[in-house]
Amino acid sequence: MEPQQYIRLSALNDMIHDTISSRFEGQRFWVLADITNHSFKADKKIHYFELVEKAQNGNAITAKMMGKSWGGGAVRIEEFEKNTGQTFTNNLHVLVQVSVDYHPLYGLSVSVLDIDSNFMLGILEQQRNATLERLVRENDYILKEGEGYSTYNSRLQLAAVIQRVAVISSSSSAGNEDFRHTMQHNDFGYDFQIDDYYTVVQGDNNAKLFLNKLIEIYNTGIPYDAVVINRGGGSQSDFLIFDNYNIGRAVAKFPIPVITGIGHQKNVSIADLMAHTHTKTPTKAAEFIIAHNRSFELGILALQQNIVIKSQQLFHVHYKELSELKNAISRSARELIQLHGKELIRTNHQIISSSRAVLYGHQKKLMVTAHQLAQSPRMLFERQKNDLGNIKNNIKNASGEYLRHEKLDLEYHQKSIQVMSPQNILRKGYAIVKTNGKIISSAGNIEAGHEIEVIMKDATLKSTVKEKIQYDGRKTNL
């Protein structure tokens, strides 16, 4: 058998190389693909990876190609990372410009010469929006409000003064140093307690570490006034950790106000949107805290100023009030004294004039009395004289009358006596009988034989009683 014709493998590969070169030499293609198996040789700045295409439905790989990038391509990748904040790494869906190479030793591969940042940005934006929508949809403490978001964390009230601060950052972060420096050298002499919690703050796959730090802060039980998330702006690549759903969610419901100082020039990260306050850099985060404290101090100073002014005003009012009272009291006391003085004078006058009046009245009465007194004796005399005259007349009249009356009476009695005189009676025929010298009117003691005298008008008859005849009660029958 004739020996087989053969060529060396290198000759074959050279043929393949020539064929491919003649077909693809100098040509560039924009290719849509996913990155896998990525590695980066930092010293030589060479990216190694595979480009794959997955089936529309599912993850089955339908195409695959080795890829690398160095030199100008690596520079473009670096720019891409800066522009998009996205690390060039596995599972990235990218639009890359490639050239096709064949190397006898390394085989077929593509070299990435350029990468489309805008395409990436579009994808990132879509992802970001999707994450935001999901955050709102799945968590009732996250609400969309206009362009911004209201979260449990953003609704927390910041302490009046922020003093205890927990800081999440990477240990090597220059931005974190800026933060610490700004905080510690503030113009107002505010003291801060700043506790560092170091973690890796880049790479979506480090989200778990970041979350653990947040939990660690919570578990310390230290009553932090704020948690600050710092990342310097030095390396402008890979901020996508801050667009991570779980980190956004954790920040949104974290019970201590979160202040972000994530240095990036691109649009705001989801962590920023979920936080209480977001600032553009760690330094600005520090300035925000200092300004917050300053506004509290200014408020206090304003109160102090107000107290100074108000207390001075108050003192002024009281001094004025007091001096008005003082004046009023001394004035009205003087007035009162004057008033009483006047009243006293008036009373004095009244007493003088009324006592004069009383005196005058008495004097007048006295004069009248004296006058009357002077008048009355004469009248008395007159009256007495009259009375006396009257009495005299009366007496004169009465005595004459009396005498006359008495004379008449006497004459009457004289006549009566003359009529009843014994001579007269004897003349009328009557006689007087005597016994033993005594006149008798009854014959009781006279008995027959007794001596009696019978006196008559012209003679006395001495006789002896012969007989006594009793009249038996009958009248003398003359």
Partner: protein, 70 residues
């Protein structure tokens, strides 16, 4: 003379009462001197109290300002 319980407010209201009493001539002359003497004591008390308080407040305020300017 000043009772321990006397406060600025009570002193002032007493002063006001005395002032009104005198002004409305409700007061007797017998009482007048006593009342005016009392009033002058009260005024002295109030002024002293005000001055002391003002001095104290100014001291506190200057203390506040000094500590604020550190």
């Amino acid at each position: 003379m000043m009772e321990e319980k006397l406060t600025y407010e009570s002193a002032k209201s007493e002063l006001t009462a005395i002032s009104k009493e005198i002004e409305s001539e409700e007061i007797s002359v017998d009482q007048l001197a006593v009342k005016v003497k009392r009033a002058s004591e009260l005024i002295e008390f109030c002024q002293a109290k005000l001055k002391n308080t003002e001095a104290e407040v100014n001291k506190i305020i200057s203390g506040m300002e000094n500590s604020g300017n550190q």
